[in-house]
Symmetry: C2
Subunit: 690 residues, 2 copies
């Protein structure tokens, strides 16, 4: 790994007047070591950073995790492996209700489609990427850069099947980095508590604190059918975390928008958020009613409903930030100051022009094209797995005959291994759920774009959305992974010959979806990327390199303390204890105590710290991130934040920003006194009490 | 009737630069006769206005209508009597699917709970109302004025059972008027087409044009079991309306917010609209799925779902206006100009102060209290008829023992006749629908106010919203009108002795709801009313009386022309013809042709004008309004507008504001050639073709 020597001092100053010690999701090659040590009273060094990085894990399901033994044991959140639990279950055997507690490693079961990755190298490819896009605009710009990224990835990983190479954009195009990962394609479930234990309080307590969630689970990486050898791992520390204790969080936060201009945020406030939240709410209502119809439906809908509600609540917090006059005012002041400093530097103006004006000019186009881009590209299919498989198969048949650089970027050679792993994963597909998702998507597409839109007319023909959804969902064989593999390997000939109604439907409408995607890239994405890169250059020129990039699903380290908060006259203590779980329980779902916890009540240490709030800077995707003490030991896993914290998509606010963490202490207690997992306790190096 | 002699000239100028000839929902005592005649080329006079007023009907279900014969025949929209059709139907006999086509008057059936009213007198009571509130603030102010209004009403209608007296606020408290109505409590259904004929295109074509909806129906007012004698009525004109023809619309538009300040509108944009639309969408999703479960459920959910979708689309149009920079910019300019003119007049400033600042200062309180006010007062019960009956009964038992002036305003003596009529109406109640509404309301109340809110805890106890909703809906006997009557007449003793779970639930939580309502009135409603009245005084001082008041469900007259429009590069012609219905039909609901229309296809005049767009100024509540030609003849009934027109809640925009009207011509064609209703044709004075 070539470490970049960017300066690391002073404040990040994303938001004038609001910059704070704890702000920042730092890349490992630009972590402010001395500042953190000074503020936290710690003494971490480069070796500490390297150990943490090599012990940290990214899960391809959009979560973070950490190795906790030399034999591939991984600690993460239960909600990060929720889909795996659902996939391993049937309406008859529901591990979500019973917990998954194998008596030994032999009973650990594979999480289909999940891959674990460790970041082993970072190198700068900014110049190559810039050169590839130079002089180009619109779709040509996007395609040339996509092709260059895929080329760099393929070259770097050539002949190294155990690696994954990924070009990542940082600072909204201010830097491009090649990240190289050691990957583990065989990941198995080693322990999960009952879902009512891991998500006590359900959607109502989600994104809140105080909290009483055993949101922890264990996976194990395998190689060649054996537990992977993982000498780089965290030491498990089961002692009680203390208030004000320094905490580092190492993980892969998904996406922040802190570098967006105010004009871009107003589009989110006025256009995308209301549309997305309103549409999601209707799907939520359909799923809630569907789930109420029978126990089987409740099981089938669980993961989809959880996903909808989790996003809904996240965005609720963001909407509040976007209409918060103080918050937006501070952000405006920071933009005004930045803009004034650029304007005062004529040489810089000559170089970057006025990217704010350029971005503002894109917003009406964004608003105009977003409804179609959302319905017919970004959320096409409404979450239906059958639709998603069909689209992958049809496009694979179209794209794969071309040279790698000529394909849609997700079909470049360097991305195929993960694509195949996901496509061929033997995960259950339920026609009834797919019908709900398709019916919602088709009917809302017609409503949003209007019944007279020619794309809508072409998609629906004379069929109603409801009838079409029923026909496609009930008639498709794409739930069968063997059939998907046969179609993938058979190419366009097999696709065209297929009588699968979903395949034929997607084959027919794919040109419509592609046109929408192309127009969005041409008129919104490419000009936004170009203006954002000019903005990034201006930002480096004015503020130097002592800033962190927006989160992009890449590994970051943030730091803070075990700390409560006071807001709106209410003070919240930073730790919750097992006794509080029983006090909060009403007996009515989702406030019922898990049966196995209830059964163990007499044995449980009521003073064990269940969850804690920490002032670290995290966001969705940080779930499962190892929470680490100054000695580099794992003391918990980040699993949530609060509704108020959701504003950190747009800016960090020390007064309310809190990560919510499940402790290693409570997980130890659970393994020992509730779920009886002595082999895991032994592996973690703690007394198993027997 | 004492006609007020307010000036009637010049433009209304609600929005600087946007005032338009057609703008204005004018009261009949302040109609700009000469301006309208000049602009329309008509020659209407006071006698014309009086005849139109006395032929116009308000339905207490929130719609407008008109007398069209001397024997009580009333023309309105099908969607205005949709609830009546639903109430007269059962899952076995569904008039919504078959149409309601009695062969003679003997078969006409009563619409329970509906009352028809004709405005016969207007008098000014502003001084009495001002005096009643003088020197008071908050809840005391509200209560004193409510009591005074009830006193005026009771005094004016004393001993006149055939009248209804109502004090109405105009210009947001700038004027108070006593409106006296002749009422008809026995209203029967005389004709309704199938619902797929009246709402062809369903929710998708709702609020759109071109349009092909036979949204017309006939009622008949009865007195003492006989058709009412109604010498004041419109002459029915079945000829084809022509482009550019002048049209007057006489009806009772429900509510506009054109006199709100920008600060008030921003609260609607940021707080109330997103919350309302998001919550409604979830209910919509639950109802959609419920309706899909069986034919019976589809029937049961129909009216509730229609109501949710209709409001949702209305507010969608409003949200677009609130984020339209041009539209809001023009409104801001008008406010700036008005405010500058006030500021330049020190005497006026001394009189009215700064009502804009006062209203702005209320907005944070509004935002803070709105969630509870919405969930626990304004939409308490979630639309459940059982809950609504229980709340009326419990509060009646609490309030009626007090003197009229001391009661909640809806229980004042003058309002009891209509309250009793509604409460005792024998309308069907479905437990399954009530359960959906209650479950949604309880769970969303908990979500919005949070599970830790003490009111939420008190309401739910340890029960889940779902279990509570099921228990209340399935166990309540309040669907039985005799039981409701017994509880009403038995007073608090009967209420307390009742074992009805809904009664006991509401009895238990009523104090919580009342506290929320009181706080809202004290901290939001009363100060808003007081500041708005000062604003109204300023408005009269600056612009004189040549303005119209915001719509408040009182009778108004607007005028315009049969006219299409051009927007976003698309030109729309103002009339649709029967042939177009068959061209638009796909066969799949909601674009299927009604069976009786299909059966009559060969007999139908394909050139008959089905619907037309007119530049009159209308809004929700205007549905059913007689559309009248210069001669005072009825040529149709207003039934809709467009999504773009919804901005007219906040300001009229001549470029896009269009009312959508079903013609007397197509209704004549339907009665003659589709539904075979010769006795109605004869009564309307047109050839019945047999």
């Amino acid at each position: 790994m070539r470490l970049l020597t960017l300066g690391v001092s002073a404040a990040a100053l994303m938001m004038a007047g609001a910059a704070s010690a704890e702000e920042g999701m730092w890349t490992f090659d630009n972590f402010p070591i001395s500042r953190a040590n000074q503020q936290m009273g710690t003494s971490i060094d480069q070796a500490w950073l390297d150990r943490v990085r090599l012990s940290s894990v990214r899960l391809t399901t959009g979560c973070s995790a950490g190795f906790v033994s030399g034999e591939g044991l991984i600690f993460t959140n239960q909600h990060c492996i929720r889909t795996c639990v659902q996939n391993l279950s049937t309406p008859q055997v529901q591990y979500n209700e019973t917990g998954f507690t194998p008596r030994s490693r032999d009973e650990e079961q594979r999480c289909q489609g999940m891959q674990a990755e460790v970041l082993i190298d970072i190198s700068d490819v900014t110049e190559q990427m810039r050169t590839a896009g130079a002089g180009l605009d619109g779709q040509a710009f996007t395609r040339a850069r996509d092709a260059e990224a895929a080329r760099i990835e393929a070259e770097a990983c050539e002949g190294r099947d155990e690696l994954r190479c990924q070009v990542v954009s940082l600072y909204r195009g201010g830097q491009f980095m090649l990240y190289t990962f050691r990957k583990y394609e065989d990941v198995r479930l080693a322990f999960a508590p009952e879902e009512i234990a891991s998500s006590f309080g359900g959607d109502l307590d989600n994104f809140s604190f105080p909290r009483y969630a055993l949101d922890g689970a264990f996976l194990r990486a395998y190689e060649n059918g054996q537990p992977a050898v993982t000498p780089n791992h965290f030491r498990w520390n089961p002692s009680a975390p203390q208030p004000d204790q320094p905490v580092f969080v190492s993980g892969t936060p998904g996406a922040t928008q802190r570098l967006l201009t105010q004009a871009q945020l107003y589009t989110i406030r006025d256009i995308t958020m209301p549309m997305d939240q309103i549409l999601s709410s209707e799907l939520r209502g359909r799923l809630i009613r569907f789930a109420e119809e029978s126990d089987e439906n409740r099981f089938i809908a669980a993961t989809a409903l959880y996903g909808v509600e989790n996003n809904f609540k996240r965005f609720t917090g963001r909407m509040r930030a976007l209409i918060d006059a103080d918050f937006m005012g501070r952000r405006q002041a920071a933009e005004d100051e930045f803009r004034a400093r650029v304007r005062a530097d004529q040489a810089l103006v000559n170089e970057v022009g006025d990217p704010w004006a350029a971005l503002e000019a894109i917003q009406p186009v964004y608003a105009q094209l977003y409804p179609a881009a959302s319905m017919l590209d970004q959320r096409a299919g409404g979450g239906s797995a059958l639709f998603s498989h069909a689209l992958t198969l049809v496009r694979a048949a179209q794209e794969l005959p071309r040279a790698s650089a000529e394909r849609l970027p997700e079909f470049a050679d360097s991305r195929l291994p993960l694509l195949r792993q996901r496509l061929f994963a033997a995960t259950p597909v339920y026609a009834s759920l797919n019908e709900i998702q398709l019916s919602w998507w088709l009917s809302k597409t017609r409503e949003v774009l209007t019944v007279d839109d020619e794309r809508v007319r072409a998609i629906l023909g004379r069929e109603s959305p409801e009838a079409m959804a029923a026909r496609l969902a009930s008639g498709s064989r794409l739930g069968d992974p063997d059939y998907r593999r046969a179609l993938f390997e058979g190419g366009m000939a097999a696709i065209e010959a297929s009588d699968d109604p979903m395949i034929q439907f997607v084959l027919r409408i794919e040109p419509i979806l592609r046109t929408v995607r192309t127009e969005w890239q041409e008129r919104v994405q490419a000009p936004t990327d170009q203006a954002s890169e000019r903005l990034a250059r201006a930002r480096f020129a004015v503020y130097g390199t002592d800033i962190y990039p927006d989160a992009t699903g890449t590994l970051r380290l943030s730091y803070g303390r075990v700390e409560g908060w006071t807001y709106d006259g209410r003070t919240v203590e930073p730790r919750t204890f097992f006794s509080g779980l029983f006090e909060r329980a009403t007996g009515a779902p989702p406030f019922n105590v898990a049966p196995r916890i209830e059964a163990a009540r007499e044995r449980i240490d009521m003073n064990a710290v269940v969850n804690m709030s920490v002032s670290t800077d995290t966001i969705g995707g940080s779930s499962g991130s190892p929470a680490i003490n100054a000695a580099g030991e794992i003391i918990g896993a980040n699993f949530d934040s609060t509704v108020l914290t959701q504003r950190n998509a747009y800016g960090y606010d020390i007064n309310v920003n809190r990560s919510v963490i499940v402790t290693a202490q409570v997980m130890t207690e659970a393994l020992r006194n509730i779920y009886d997992m002595p082999h895991l306790l032994e592996e973690l190096g703690v007394d198993h009490g027997n």
